[in-house]
């Protein structure tokens, strides 16, 4: 069972949006065009968005509405992008953030 809600008693969860592909830490991940990046990541089972600057502790979804910044990642080379309020577009390059840069190259 995937993490997407595919049937619901109240909500119409049929999704007519185009399926696009984003690149997460180098691996292709399917997303619905225009959904928050964070949704696509969760649907793919990715729960860690960033590591803290000093202690390198993992952080993930906490508020889901752009307030807390725990889901910030490096998107198309730009750090500190709140993935819960940024829409997924085909070909987006998303990287786990470590401190203020992407994980692999953190100094």
């Amino acid at each position: 069972m995937g993490m997407r809600v595919d049937h619901h008693v109240v909500l119409d969860v049929r999704d007519k949006r185009k399926t696009v592909t984003i690149l997460v830490d180098g691996k292709p991940v399917e997303a619905r065009e225009g959904e928050p990046l964070l949704s696509a990541l969760l649907a793919a089972g990715i729960k860690i968005n960033r590591y803290t600057r000093r202690f390198h502790e993992p952080r993930g979804l906490f508020c889901a509405i752009g307030q807390c910044t725990d889901c910030a990642m490096v998107v198309n080379g730009q750090p500190n992008v709140r993935t819960c309020i940024v829409p997924a577009q085909d070909g987006m390059v998303v990287e786990t953030q470590d401190g203020l840069t992407r994980k692999e190259t953190n100094l």
Partner: protein
């Protein structure tokens, strides 16, 4: 370059939308900004039917109210900027807005609003047990957004902390989305929310464990949640050693109330007070919803956490008052509308919780009148918003 607008409304939730609609209806040019991908605030995650009277949309699901408000704002030509964060409000009613344009380019704007309405809503309170920062620990509202708006489950096995209405309703909605809710943990000796919501949870077989709290979120090798350690609490809400037990889960949702988002009113040095009934520090306002700073208005949860129905009425009052201050409505017209709206707000503040809010609001308005300035004379007609006095 500074853009000019009659009214700038910050936050497109129920309060901000209602404020924009009233101001635009009166003829004011309105700019409505919100940092999210769509307008409607938290209404779109409220898939349950509202309580109350027909005038307050009883029997209507939150997202239908949201759609109606968004359509109305659009038809009134309210200028809506989404993915636009108000990063500051500066003296002279200038609002700094960081707007994300197509292609992800960020651009900074300064917009001067003859009136500015701050409707920034609320944020969820955290409970800082050991391991509360692990991925998998989240606000109950965040979990609700994921299932009801984005249609993605935040996890499969969930433990909910807090049995107020948010904890109860979100537990039920997580089950509707196919999640397994293993337990609802409540520190108080009895359930906080309405019995009707609690009954739905109990009927579904979810244990509501009162006089208990979460003492630790356990992590797996990656650091994400693998379990919740709960313990019984004493009469001072302190965990009792030796009563710990572990519930294996991948998600812990925290429903411990909300607090008003007051960053912008603090920046403006709006006179504020601490009022627990309304969730914390809030800017004082008069019966026009105007703060101690002339031309700056507040509405909705950012001036006290209540329900969406109250937020909408407060937004309408602020929008009406702002339009009046700019000459779009006469004192007589606006006075009549505001009187009616205040009566509707007061009618929503009934019942044991509502009465407390009614009393608190009355004291805050009194405080404003005594310490800051007299309200405009026409608002005194009928002693509205001052209850029976």
């Amino acid at each position: 370059m500074i853009l000019e607008k009659d009214v700038v409304v910050i936050g497109a939730g129920p309060a901000g939308l209602a404020a924009s609609i009233e101001a635009a209806k009166a003829g004011a040019g309105v700019l409505l900004v919100d940092l999210n991908l769509k307008a409607g605030g938290q209404l779109f995650k409220q898939i349950h039917k509202f309580f109350g009277s027909r005038a307050h949309y009883s029997g209507t699901r939150g997202y239908d109210i949201g759609r109606k408000l968004v359509r109305e704002a659009e038809s009134l030509k309210v200028d809506v900027w989404l993915q636009s964060t108000a990063v500051g409000v500066f003296p002279g009613n200038k609002v700094g807005i960081e707007r994300i344009l197509d292609g992800g380019v960020k651009k900074l704007y300064t917009v001067h609003g003859k009136a500015v309405i701050i409707a920034t809503g609320a944020s969820e309170n955290a409970v800082c047990f050991k391991g509360w920062t692990r991925p998998g620990v989240m606000g109950a509202g965040a979990a609700q957004t994921m299932v009801n708006v984005n249609h993605v489950r935040p996890g499969k096995k969930i433990v909910m902390l807090g049995s107020g209405n948010v904890g109860l309703i979100v537990s039920y909605q997580l089950m509707q989305a196919g999640c397994d809710v293993l337990a609802l943990v409540e520190a108080a000796p009895k359930i906080g929310g309405y019995a009707v919501h609690a009954a739905k949870i109990s009927r579904a077989g979810v244990p509501i464990i009162t006089s208990h709290t979460i003492v630790e979120a356990l992590g797996d090798e990656k650091g994400t949640v693998r379990g919740a350690v709960i313990a019984k609490v004493d009469s001072h809400f302190q965990p009792i050693s030796g009563t710990e037990r572990t519930i294996e889960c991948d998600t812990i949702a925290i429903a411990a109330g909300l607090r008003p988002v007051v960053d912008l009113t603090r920046l403006m040095n709006c006179a504020s007070v601490f009022e627990p009934v309304f969730g914390g520090f809030i800017p004082l306002h008069n019966t026009d919803m105007e703060t101690s700073v002339k031309g700056i208005y507040v509405a909705g949860d950012s001036t006290g956490v209540e329900e969406a129905s109250v937020a909408m009425e407060e937004g309408r009052i602020a929008g009406t008052a702002a339009a009046q201050s700019l000459g779009y409505l006469s004192a007589a017209e606006a006075g009549k509308t505001k009187k009616l709206l205040w009566e509707r707000v007061n009618s929503l503040r009934s019942g044991p919780f509502g009465e407390r809010r009614l009393t608190a609001e009355k004291n805050l308005l009194e405080h404003f009148r005594e310490e800051i300035r007299e309200p405009q004379p026409e608002i005194m007609i009928g002693g509205l918003a001052h209850g029976a006095d």
